[in-house]
Amino acid sequence: MTILECVDLRKQYGTGESLIHAVNDISFTVDKGEFVSIVGTSGSGKSTLLHMIGGVDRPTEGKIIIGGTDITALKEDDLAVFRRRKIGLVYQFYNLIQVLDADENILLPSLLDGHAEDREKLDSIIRYLDLEDRRNHLPRELSGGQQQRVSIGRALYSEPELLLCDEPTGNLDSKASEDVVRLLQKANKERGQTIILVTHDESIAAKADRIITLADGRIIRDTKVSA
């Protein structure tokens, strides 16, 4: 079952001679439960592509259909609501709210949606993230790996249709990177979470089911990774 469909996506910056095609005519689909890595050199357009899929950036042309909804046609606020319900985003620099503790950061999208805290679900996520003893700590009191785990927890709490990770290990040491990737794999395998992971690290990319390679804003390779 297709969960994501990108059709003729283009993203341009600038005009005239300084026109840059960050993403140039990209089309692909992702099935539910797939773990996809997007790799490429710096400036190849992988992060731009991910941001467009996440609805935080808009394509110049093309369509992005997630779970049957064309998010390029949504208004800004509808897109925000869609994002908090259907998409989880994990960034390289965690992007946690510094004044909220781990628990609160995880609950944030749900609370923004007006839902009350689901304590059981929260405890389960916290256990899942192995953050039981750090749950009431502020981001600045956590290590990079722990902060990234909170970020993943925040993305997973709403059980999104799509988990998008932008260089989630880019700011971590190798041990923490391994932990984060293991956590993502676990989410994919145990919870059937669809994940799109952007990375420039081929060894991490290789942990996914499928690798899409970008160069100059185009897909130059789309390969399945054998188990």
């Binding site: 609501v81 004044v99 609950l107 923004l112």
Partner: protein, 933 residues
């Protein structure tokens, strides 16, 4: 846990960022304090001025005289009249108990109880009368030895006093505004003295005081003694005696009365319409502060000042709050962008800003109102001595009196005004930051580039030299370096300061013109006030037609130690009439504009008619030596024969014109730079009224003055300060005497005396006791402290203090804004500084870089601020001119420059402080790692 996460995050964000939160709250506290000053301060000051004025001038609003029973009833029934009180003058009665032969009468009035309070009747001993058989007598009677005590009876057999002139010529009593023609019999003014002393026997022979009985007889019991009312002057022939007037008896006869209005401006016109302006007197100063003056000038100025300051505070709030949000934009972008990435809507992001503003308001409103009340209390403490001076001046002239107690007037509606206006200003100020916050997207947080405009910078070619210079250039190019915020705050400071100072000066000037009776206060002979020591006082001796005494006093003063800076001023009371066409087009234009306010339809004929009336120039004589040096200075030669200097800078106002008691449509004032077409070298032909004793008829005596120079105000500033709507002909004492303008010569000798010098002190005591009576022969007295000469100046001084307070607080808010910007700029530099330090830059090099950058920023700010400030001042001035006429305003450039210099000098100091605080003891690696956090 179900709570509004946006509010919760905002609340924690504020807690986390203590410094910016504190600055924002302090700013809002100051804004609230200012709003409190505008609303509650206005009420308090106006209430205080009203009470001080009531104390000084009485609580009555309108007095009316000689009204019949029917007229009195009509006045009472007016809707604009709130309450009335009647009085009945019974006239004079012989006072057998008097011990002073100069004061042989009682002046008996009956008043309703309310009038006791309205006229400020103060019981010194005993009690006020409670029925028509009781009476209170002026304490001055007892103090001058009258054999009278409480419980004694007084037999009143009343009469009116008349004067018959058998001297054969008209006699003028200038200080009583009274003149009587030959063989005429007129009722004397109330303050007229009695002719009984041996000294005035020669005068007494030519004038006869006649008593005409009124038919009123009554026996009174004395119930107390009262402080002498202001109309009981020391030269008057009577002691005041006031009895009770029963309300049921007011239908009997002709009355005078007083009323208080309902606060509407219609009362005075209503009463005037009923009985004519000749019998109506208004207590203008009290009515002005009560808001019930038919003259809308004061009320309008107060409203203008209030609206102006509301606008100023509003603009300052918007700029301040916008800037405060801008300096925290980066942090805000980070958390709002993150919120956006997890699905926060625009509305939710906007609500974060509004919630922040509201939470600041929650603290700022009570604290700001308290601070505002404290400021008002301080301002009132400063105002108090001015008010004391006013009461002193009006009531006693010499002794110090205490004014009304200061009390804060907190009206619920005003309090609501403070809250609503502050909240509105803060929320309106938040609209823009909220809109900007609403637009922050997740991508902005990720890239941290929401306010960064992609703009290509021109790269400099060639070899780069000087690390600090290169850095400064780069920093100035970088829009994210915080420099814009500093420029914005400095420009805001300057523009707001310019607006506040200019408008404050304009409004003060307007109030001064409005309060100053331009005709009454024509000349200020006050230059000798300058450079006085603490033991010295300024004294004046006023004389009328006493040339011999003038000589004697001048000689005496010059020979006495401890006395210095003796200045002579002399003027003919009636002046002289110019015989030629003299009015300039500028003067005619001002006159046209004034007449328009009186709806004069006579066109140029009306203008000519009024100019004809203004042809009486004041001839003013100075010391011969002073005058000679003035002529020398202005013309470069010695005074010619019959020399004069023309001073023709005049000020015309609708108040000064006062056409036949009518009120102008609105207040206008015009300063005329050159009222005449006269020029140096011309001969000025004038005429003055004289009386031919042989022919026994009046005639015009011709005078010719040689105009040696035309003077401007600044030429005379160390000699005298002319004012009003009259052209001055300045000459010397000798010329004045030789021109024969001494028939009605009013002169004053102003000097400084050191109270610790025995000779000077003895002379002052002698002058104090040497009060010659005022029957035209001569008159002299002394006044201490000439700077307290006129109550109008005191009130204008109070207004100036109020304006200064506003300016200081507005400046403080703007300074806080600058501090916030500078501080935020240095905070933004933490990581950058760490990187530079890691690259080997020393603290001295860093400081040099940042200091240099700040100088450039200040220069850039000034280049923007100066023209905008000047434009703002011009717009304010133009608006005032379009509404009030044409007058010059002396913007205190030195003060303004001083404040600006001090403020600008403090900016690098603030930066140094911030640099020290932000840079000292910080770990380079930690700071570098702060990237994106």
């Amino acid at each position: 846990m179900k709570k509004n996460m946006i509010y919760e995050i905002t609340r924690r964000y504020l807690k986390e960022n203590r410094k910016s939160t504190l600055i924002m709250r302090l700013s809002l506290i100051l804004i609230t304090a200012l709003m409190t000053c505008v609303f509650i301060g206005r009420d308090t000051v106006m209430d205080y001025l009203l009470r001080v004025s009531e104390e000084a001038y009485g609580k009555w609003h309108i007095a009316f005289y000689d009204v019949t029973q029917q007229e009195y009833e009509e006045i009472r029934s007016l809707r604009s009249v709130k309450e009335t009180a009647a009085a009945r003058t019974r006239g004079f009665s012989e006072f057998a108990a008097s011990a002073d032969p100069d004061v042989p009468y009682l002046y008996i009035r009956q008043e309703e109880e309310k009038m006791f309070e309205w006229t400020g009747l103060t019981v010194a001993e005993g009690r006020l009368p409670q029925n028509e058989d009781e009476i209170v007598i002026s304490l001055s009677a007892k103090e001058s030895g009258a054999q009278i005590a409480i419980g004694d009876t007084v037999e009143a057999d009343c009469f009116d006093r008349y004067l018959h002139n058998s001297s054969g010529v008209t006699t003028v009593f200038p200080f009583l505004s009274f003149s009587i023609k030959a063989d005429e019999t007129l009722e004397m003014p109330r303050a007229f003295p009695v002719y009984v002393t041996e000294e005035e026997k020669h005068f007494y022979d030519d004038h006869e005081e006649i008593h005409r009985p009124t038919g009123f007889h009554h026996t009174y019991t004395v119930t107390g003694f009262i402080e002498p009312p202001s109309y009981e002057t020391s030269d008057a022939a009577f002691y005041t005696a006031i009895s009770f007037l029963d309300s049921s008896h007011i239908e009997d006869g002709v009355f005078s009365g007083m009323c208080r209005t309902d606060g509407s401006a219609m009362a005075a016109p209503d009463v005037t319409r009923l009985i004519g302006y000749e019998r109506v007197e208004t207590n203008d100063r009290v009515m002005a502060f009560a808001g019930s003056s038919s003259d809308t000038g004061i009320n309008f100025i107060v409203i203008i000042a209030q609206v102006f300051f509301l606008i100023l505070i509003g603009v300052a709030s918007v700029l301040l709050i916008y800037n405060a949000y801008q300096v925290t934009a980066e942090k805000r972008m980070q958390f709002l962008g993150t919120l956006a990435s997890v699905g926060a809507t625009s509305k939710q992001k906007r609500s974060s800003v509004y919630y922040e503003t509201l939470s600041h308001l929650l603290y700022a409103l009570p604290a700001g109102i308290a601070a505002g009340l404290a400021l008002i209390a301080i301002a009132m403490m400063i105002l108090r001595p001015y008010a004391d001076a006013l009461v002193t001046l009006v009531n006693t002239g010499i002794q110090t009196a205490q004014s009304a107690d200061v009390r804060l007037v907190i009206r619920p509606l005003s309090l609501l005004g403070v809250i609503v206006c502050t909240a509105a200003a803060a929320l309106v100020s938040s609209i823009l930051p909220a809109r900007m916050s609403g637009k922050i997207g997740a991508i902005d947080s990720i890239r941290a580039n929401t306010v960064q405009k992609r703009r290509s910078h021109r790269r400099e070619k060639g070899i780069r030299t000087g690390g600090e210079k290169m850095l400064v250039k780069a920093l100035l190019r970088n829009e994210q370096s915080g420099g814009r915020s500093v420029i914005r705050s400095v420009v805001t400071f300057w523009v707001i300061l310019s607006a506040a100072v200019c408008a404050g000066t304009e409004i003060t000037q307007m109030v001064r013109y409005k309060l100053l009776d331009l005709n009454d206060t024509a000349v200020e002979e006050t230059p000798v006030q300058k450079n006085r020591s603490e033991t010295e006082e300024v004294y004046s001796v006023f004389l009328f037609n006493q040339q011999d005494l003038e000589e004697e006093i001048l000689s005496e003063l010059h020979q006495t130690s401890g006395i210095r800076d003796i200045s002579y001023y002399g003027t003919s009371i009636f002046g002289a009439r110019v015989q030629t066409q003299w009015a300039s087009e500028e003067y005619r234009e001002a006159m046209r504009e004034i007449l328009k306010q009186y709806d004069q339809t006579g066109g140029e004929d009306a203008v000519d008619q009024w100019i004809e009336g203004m042809s009486w120039f004041s001839v003013y004589a100075l010391d011969d030596e002073v005058y000679a040096s003035l002529v020398q200075k202005l013309s470069g030669h010695a005074p010619s024969e019959n020399s004069c200097i023309i001073y023709d800078q005049v000020t015309l106002s609708t108040d000064g014109m006062a056409l036949s008691g009518r009120k102008a449509d609105s207040f206008r004032v015009f300063e005329v730079g050159s009222a005449t077409v006269l020029q140096a070298g011309e001969t000025l032909q004038m005429a003055t009224p004289a009386y031919d004793e042989k022919k026994n008829e009046p005639y015009d005596r011709e005078l010719f003055f040689q105009i040696d120079a035309m003077a401007k105000k600044e030429d005379l500033e160390n000699i005298l300060i002319p004012g009003g709507g009259t052209v001055y002909v300045l000459t010397d004492r000798s010329t004045l005497f030789s021109s024969g303008l001494t028939d009605n010569l009013s002169s004053s000798i102003v000097f400084i005396a050191d109270g610790t010098d025995p000779a000077a002190a003895a002379l002052i005591r002698k002058y104090d006791q040497h009060n010659i009576d005022s029957r035209g022969a001569g008159y002299s007295f002394t006044v201490k402290g000439m700077e307290q000469k006129d109550g109008y100046y005191v009130i204008a001084g109070m207004i100036r203090i109020v304006m200064s307070f506003f300016t200081i607080i507005v400046s403080l808010i703007c300074l806080l804004n600058i501090f916030n910007s500078v501080s935020a700029m240095m905070v933004k530099r933490r990581r950058e500084t760490a990187v530079l330090r890691s690259a080997g830059m020393t603290s001295a090099q860093l400081w040099k870089t940042y200091r240099l950058e700040m100088y450039f920023l200040l220069l850039r700010s000034l280049l923007i601020a100066l023209p905008i400030g000047a434009l703002t001042a011009f717009v304010i001035h133009s608006l005032m001119m379009s509404r009030f006429g044409r007058f010059t305003v002396h913007v205190p450039v030195l003060l303004l420059s001083g404040i600006a210099l001090a403020a600008f000098a403090s900016i690098p100091a603030l930066q140094r402080l911030s640099f020290h605080y932000e840079m000292t003891g910080r770990n380079i690696i930690d700071e570098i790692r702060q990237e994106n956090h």
